[in-house]
């Protein structure tokens, strides 16, 4: 029956080749390459491909409800499947803000209905992201959406008392606060990384200290109250040093880096093209190298995309008027291959840890980021490490086009994605997991 897939000859986590039999939503058999019976099964020839656990993105903006012109849960989920993801955490800065059980359940159910990936809504820390009063974190945790990650992403929880209370409160349901570290006063109207280049370009500087000061404060708060803390999108060498110090002290902190901060530098801002405008801003070459090293040595735990779709008119304008953010889901694997794998900093097992196992652990997504082993949920991604690809903005699944990589060649491609044993990406086609498979 066509519900069974035999993945023939894939290198599991980049190691030895094996056949994987997916049946009834789980990995039913693992055999020597070429040994699995293909009877009644659909065979996926995977010689030379790397099998990874389905990728998990802890930081995605799906824009629904409110900005369906930029992205919907459906279109963002399609983009995720195309990028090799089987789960995404949808940030709370929608309109209305995901600060109640009602909104997170709406997003959760839209994700279910779309059927491409597991959509885990992130709950806002404060009401309306205003940084003044705690949102009903417990209600969101107890809702059908089972929220475990809370973030005001896009805004920083800058009030130290409020941050302390949030860190404490979420312990009751094993939650985590994911902080967008940006001291607001130091970054009023900030446009780009503050340094020699911002002075030359006449763009208001966004100093590294505005990020680092908040991270330093937060790790000390987390230590003081014995909570876990997750730091969103680290972008500076100094942030790396603070997180490294905190971990050496045994503080329960995890950190993420985006693909774009692993690859792109502030030099691109010379074009004044807002496709390169992002929060936190692109930094220097030195920062990029520090972030890569930190991701390799485990100081930074995960890669998270900060996929941030924007409609054309919000980018096709003057720099200062443009929205901040760039697409990420459909290019993340290629960027990580280029910056971490091809450079020898990480092997594919290391990629699996940073893009699937660890993000699932941090987000408490218990059936995602599982080992590729018999009886485990069949969430899988097949990557061809040798198939390079030129990024074409018009070919993306996302509803938006604001990719900074258009025209760039990326060294690896996602070939197939399986969600609980059913393909969401196969033979170049993206499809939901809950229909067609039984036809």
């Amino acid at each position: 029956m066509s519900d069974t897939y035999v993945i023939r000859g894939a290198r599991v986590l980049g190691g030895d080749a094996a056949d994987l039999v997916l049946r009834d939503g789980v990995v039913a058999e693992i055999t020597a390459a070429g040994a699995a019976s293909a009877e009644g099964a659909t065979v996926v020839e995977a010689a030379g491909l790397v099998a990874l656990p389905g990728l998990v993105d802890l930081h995605t903006h799906l824009r629904e409800p409110g900005r369906e012109d930029a992205e919907t849960v459906e279109s963002g989920s399609r983009a995720a499947a195309a990028g090799g993801y089987t789960a995404v955490f949808a940030m709370a800065n929608t309109d209305p803000v995901a600060d109640t059980a009602g909104v997170v359940e709406q997003v959760f159910h839209l994700g279910r209905a779309a059927g491409y990936v597991d959509v885990h809504p992130v709950g806002a820390v404060t009401v309306g992201l205003k940084g003044q009063a705690l949102a009903e974190l417990g209600a969101m945790a107890d809702s059908a959406a089972q929220v475990r990650v809370f973030s005001d992403d896009g805004k920083c929880v800058h009030d130290a008392v409020l941050m302390r209370r949030a860190l404490e409160y979420v312990k009751a349901f094993d939650g985590v606060v994911a902080q967008h570290s940006q001291e607001p006063r130091l970054t009023e109207d900030a446009q780009m990384n503050e340094g020699a280049l911002s002075g030359v370009l006449g763009l208001r500087g966004w100093p590294a200290v505005a990020e680092e000061a908040i991270i330093a404060r937060d790790v000390l708060l987390a230590d003081h109250v014995g909570s876990r803390l997750h730091v969103c999108h680290l972008s500076t060498a100094g942030s790396v040093e603070i997180v490294r110090w905190a971990k050496s002290r045994g503080i329960d902190v995890t950190a993420e880096v985006t693909p774009h901060h692993l690859m792109l530098t502030e030099e691109l801002v010379r074009s004044y093209d807002p496709v390169y405008k992002v929060n936190p801003p692109l930094r220097s070459e030195r920062d990029v190298m520090a972030l890569r090293e930190a991701l390799a040595d485990g100081t930074i735990d995960i890669v998270a995309t900060d996929h941030a779709p924007h409609p054309v008119e919000d980018k096709d304008c003057e720099w200062a008027e443009a929205a901040m953010g760039m697409l990420g889901l459909e290019t993340a694997v290629g960027i990580v291959a280029a910056t971490m794998v091809d450079t020898g900093l990480l092997d594919w097992a290391g990629v699996a840890e940073r893009m699937a196992f660890a993000p699932a652990r941090i987000g408490r997504a218990s059936d995602q980021g599982r080992p590729i082993a018999i009886g485990e949920p069949a969430n899988l991604t097949l990557v061809d490490p040798a198939r390079s690809r030129v990024v074409e903005a018009d070919e993306l699944q996302s509803r938006s086009r604001n990719t900074p990589y258009a025209g760039r060649t990326l060294p690896a491609s996602v070939v197939a994605t399986f969600l609980r044993g059913r393909p969401t990406l196969l033979d170049g086609a993206v499809r939901p997991a809950h229909e067609g498979a039984n036809a």
């Binding site: 340094g195 280049l197 370009l201 006449g202 003057e318």
Partner: protein, 321 residues
């Protein structure tokens, strides 16, 4: 020369001298009874101004008209822009009208760069001041003025010492002047309180100081920058009076300057703040002359970017009645 003038860095030494020499030639032609030349007849120059700027807009308008170009003035206030039209749509409209050059003043740094490089328009783009980035024609008119007083009106500014004082952080005039004056061989010193200097200023081709008195006795020119009123309440300095005492050019400080040294200001001035009235009105002040030179320099820029007829004898005989 490039097709656009977006930054003073677009000009190498030869380009800069070509603009200055052309400006000098145009100035001598238009000093005669007939002020108008036919060189840009049939060409359209649009002044696209998103910020209020009487002096720069009028200067560009006069420059284009003296070259016989058709001039369209488009200011953001009371136009489609105030109804929310984007820069892109405005640009497409101007393109449809056949603009050969667009002179743009914009509050966002980089807006002229976007206009020139986004494929929205085909014509030349002249930056008439963008945000806190650059104002290249201001630096050209300043260099023109300095050359006239300090170098006999010919050649470059090799070895001349220029002290630029004030809000460097937010000044597009300072950025363009540092770049152009370095290209022309002048030695520039920026003087400002540390709060009004950008991070990374040590990488600029100039010296930097916090003390004004030390940089007056060797100066050939002292250029005072305007201090915007909104800076006064943002902790860049404690008070207007303290700023004025430490960084204002008053009669005592002017007396420290060499006899031949000139005083400059891009305008509009805050008399009593960065510059004392008696200094602004003194015989060393070339501030009013700067304005007049602005027209000649902008004529040269438009002429060179739009590739008008050769200067020289044909032009002399072709002047309009």
């Amino acid at each position: 020369m490039n097709r656009h003038l977006l930054s003073a860095a677009d000009l190498d030494r030869d380009d800069a001298l070509l603009v200055l020499d052309t400006a000098a030639e145009l100035a001598s032609l238009t000093d005669r009874a007939v002020k108008k030349l036919p060189t840009l007849r049939g060409r359209t120059v649009v002044n696209l101004f998103y910020e209020d700027s009487t002096r720069t807009r009028i200067s560009f308008e006069a420059a284009a008209k003296r070259l016989s170009a058709d001039v369209i003035n488009f200011s953001a206030k009371g136009s489609s822009v105030s109804k929310g039209e984007s820069l892109k749509d405005t640009a497409l409209t101007l393109e449809a009208m056949g603009a050969d050059a667009v002179v743009i003043r914009h509050h966002s740094s980089g807006a002229p760069h976007r206009l020139a490089h986004s494929g929205w328009i085909q014509g030349s783009v002249v930056n008439a001041g963008d945000g806190t980035h650059e104002h290249p024609t201001q630096s050209l008119l300043d260099a023109f003025t300095m050359r006239k007083h300090l170098a006999g009106g010919v050649g470059d500014l090799e070895g001349r010492r220029v002290t630029i004082v004030g809000d460097v952080l937010h000044s597009r005039v300072a950025r363009s002047n540092v770049l152009l004056l370095a290209t022309l061989g002048a030695e520039v010193t920026l003087v400002a309180p540390p709060t009004l200097l950008p991070v990374g200023v040590e990488t600029w081709p100039c010296e930097v100081s916090y003390h004004l008195d030390s940089h007056l006795k060797d100066a050939d020119a002292v250029m005072m920058l305007r201090v915007q009123r909104e800076r006064m309440n943002a902790a860049f300095f404690p008070s207007a009076r303290e700023y004025s005492r430490r960084y204002g050019l008053d009669a005592r400080r002017m007396a420290l300057m060499p006899e031949h040294a000139i005083v400059m200001h891009p305008g509009p001035m805050n008399r009593g703040m960065e510059i004392a009235a008696e200094v602004a009105d003194s015989r060393r002040s070339v501030i009013v002359e700067q304005v007049g030179n602005g027209v000649s320099v902008r004529m040269a820029v438009l002429y060179l970017l739009l590739g008008g007829a050769q200067l020289g004898s044909p032009l002399d005989t072709a002047t309009e009645a």
